[in-house]
Symmetry: C2
Subunit: 429 residues, 2 copies
């Protein structure tokens, strides 16, 4: 570092779980950061709603301000860790228009209004970095955006929501039902008081949209993502998964085929020996398949103030380095013109679990219905009950629309008492 | 991409396993690469020893040349995939001095002569990228160099050599001895005719040096790395590991403590439920512990022409983007002034396996020897034999020098028949 380098001024917007740790690390590691950036890194201020709220001891009270615009206008780098759409969006746009670099952890905003932000960054030649927006501390945005830039990503499967992974894990290991586990998770602070964004799959869907956009060089927004949460998963589903050598994970799936791009979030059966099956509790993992690289997996802590701050700081070093020494990170790459497929056109495998009358000919009748929609049966497993039998049929790859039509027919034939559940399968050959 | 952008000229030095795939992908994906770089990417030539050797159909024969200097002097980006020290070193220096960007997969050269290359790159303000030099297709250099630039890496544990991982895996699953497995691996092409660099740990040591340099912001060369291969690992060691709930992996270990930095490669006991324990066959994985991010793991294919080419291409896109649009990647970060510790100062845990006479008082005598050197015993496991007993003592963390002195004493007491093996333990609390 040349001793005369002007300091890079960093504004932090938001000082909650993540912001507090970003501020702490920025101050504590100032000399290391300066050496890595090539110039001193200076906290120019922290924007919060209420400057009088008591804060963590690591937060310098005199840096707090409620004048966001003045702070943004006097900083080289703006770190947005407030969350929500507004005023985050307006402040980020204001920063980018000034040519300031922006680092954000805001997956909701990126997945909903990313296009506008990417365009503003591009127009101003400004950096927009967002490693922390997907899978917390895990470096995944930079690897997909840069390391795999010479490859063709064909599929991403991600365990990207710690709350749902914890809930499914507890249901699996303790045999408990969904409601009991969620209540306990709330009590322990592993689930929010209003857990909808997590258990409904919306948080994972935002991350899926961001990953798909990066991987496929194409804009994919949250509205392009089919989203099904874990609220309907039962203890019986889990037991049946265990029976068939699988575990249930809420997966973010993004895949590219000749037909187009499919991006979706749903509870998914994963074979027990798949690398994603072993991802426990609040950990996240992203499994990537690329034409040349083959299978890759990235694993680590997906949330939490300190781990997430690590990802934010990594981005700060990159953009501050550009401010101090010139250069710029990659622009949004959105040249691809692939069709984003509706869920009905997605191709995957399924496990259909149902109750059938305990009499001869039933399996033939069921098999005929699958065949009539061109859905191949890969395996059948019977689980005897009283006066009825439980059946788990695993299919070959089939179109979602064909599977839906099959299930509709199963529901109206007297060869089936009840269709208990339909779960998609990923990660099996 | 503006249609008037001048093409970025790429020279490829070497056209073997990796080079052939780099050339193929460069040509096949030219239009995708141009979109990602922001300018056309043009193969300016391929340097080989013998231009008349028959090549893969993907290699354009008229691009082959045996005039490396002319090729280097007429290119914007030089991709070195020849291997070896010379002429790779001289050609890379020549390219950097001209201000050309360099992408290399050459771990041996980086670990031995990296300092000179980094300085040349810095002096010329040129990019020097080397993702493919560590763990093939796995993005690990960029994550450590950039994503974790705002964090403090405390430890790296890597399964970074596929050949040795395959050999240890086969010994474990088939109960075979080292020599039998290596012979079979050579027959199948999984091990080189001369496997010394792999089984002796030197390949892993080069990667350990590169990773440690990046992680600790400090130059660590191959001579700083303690290196012990797998040639002495026996079927009995593997059986004993299984007995105690562990697997044996050849690990590259780089850790930073208050005392300094320790970098080493050796066969290591890893608990069966550690994420690294499940890394099978030719796969590689790098486990990273950082103060804020916590535990991270990166997993994928560590070698092979096509996977390795993916990493090379990712680097080509980064440096070509800088050539086309301005900017530069991070400089070498080597500001830290930590002591690189000798192996005798390393702290870790150990499993000492020995044969003792089958009589009372033996355990007390053995325990006294450990205690006299301040080495705490964590657990003892007895395995009965005929006229003697097998003992496995697992220790608490201790200094390597204290453990060596302990073993020396064990070897000279009549309370011990023979010390069969000493293996270090990582990944246990
Ligand atoms: N928490 C995680 O583990 C995690 C992980 C990855 C990504 N993220 C993302 O990081 C961002 C921040 O998350 P968080 O958990 O740190 O949130 P948080 O704890 O709720 O903190 C939000 C902070 O932003 C401030 N803020 C919010 N709305 C504001 C407004 N309208 N005007 C002014 N200040 C406002 C709040 O100010 P007051 O303090 O005055 O209320 C508070 O300091 C979100 O985008 C989230 O998705 C979080
Ligand atoms: N193979 C892998 O899986 C892998 C993985 C990661 C990193 N790497 C690294 O990638 C590099 C290349 O490995 P590789 O497996 O592709 O090697 P390789 O198959 O032996 O190919 C080496 C190529 O370089 C050329 N070459 C070698 N020495 C030369 C010299 N003195 N003058 C001119 N040309 C020379 C050879 O020319 P001719 O064809 O005329 O003989 C050949 O085309 C090495 O640094 C290696 O460590 C390899």
């Amino acid at each position: 570092m040349s001793p005369t380098s002007a300091p890079v001024k960093i504004a932090v917007l938001g000082c909650g779980t993540v912001g507090t740790q970003v501020v702490r690390l920025l101050l504590e590691q100032a000399s290391d950061l300066a050496a890595r950036v090539g110039a001193p890194v200076e906290l120019s201020g922290i924007y919060v709603r209420d400057t009088t709220t008591p804060r963590d001891a690591a937060v310098p009270v005199d840096a707090l301000t409620s004048d966001a615009q003045a702070l943004v206008d006097s900083s080289d780098v703006v770190v947005e860790v407030m969350g929500g759409i507004e005023p985050a969006r307006t402040l980020i746009l204001r920063a980018l228009e000034r040519g300031s670099a922006v680092v954000t952890a805001n997956k909701a905003l990126l997945a909903q209004g990313g296009a506008e932000l990417y365009e503003a960054a591009d127009a101003a030649g400004a950096d927009l970095y967002y490693e922390a927006a997907v899978a917390g501390a895990i470096p995944i945005v930079r690897p997909v955006r840069e390391s795999l830039a010479g490859d063709r990503v064909t599929r991403i499967l991600g365990v990207v929501n710690g709350t749902t992974n914890y809930v499914l894990d507890e249901m699996t290991t303790k045999g408990l039902d969904y409601d009991a586990v969620v209540a306990e998770a709330q009590r322990l602070g592993y689930a929010e008081a209003d857990p909808t964004a997590d258990v409904g799959g919306h948080d994972a869907a935002a991350k899926a949209a961001i990953l798909a956009s990066l991987a496929f060089h194409q804009r994919v927004g949250i509205d392009d993502v089919y989203c099904e949460g874990i609220t309907a998963v039962t203890a019986d589903d889990i037991a049946a998964a265990t029976e068939t050598g699988r575990v249930i994970k809420l997966l973010a799936v993004a895949e590219q085929t000749d037909a187009g791009v499919s991006v979706r979030v749903h509870p998914t059966l994963v074979p027990r020996d798949h690398p994603l099956a072993g991802v426990r509790g609040a950990f996240n993992a992203v499994f990537v398949e690329a034409e040349a690289a083959g299978e890759l997996m990235f694993y680590g802590q997906g949330a939490g103030g300190v781990p997430t701050a690590s990802a934010v700081l990594g981005d700060i070093v990159s953009v501050a380095r550009h401010k101090a020494g010139g250069g710029k990170g990659p622009r949004e790459s959105n040249y691809a013109r692939l069709e984003v497929l509706p869920m009905s056109a997605a191709m995957t495998r399924y496990a259909v679990r149902m109750s059938v009358p305990d009499r001869p000919g039933v399996l033939a009748a069921v098999a005929t219905i699958f065949a009539s929609h061109g859905v191949g049966i890969e395996s059948v497993r019977q689980m005897p009950g009283k006066g009825h039998a439980g059946l788990i049929l695993s299919t070959h790859r089939a179109r979602e629309s064909a599977l839906s039509a099959t299930v509709e027919d199963l529901r109206s034939t007297d060869a089936v008492n009840e269709v208990w559940s339909v779960l998609r399968i990923e990660g099996e050959l």
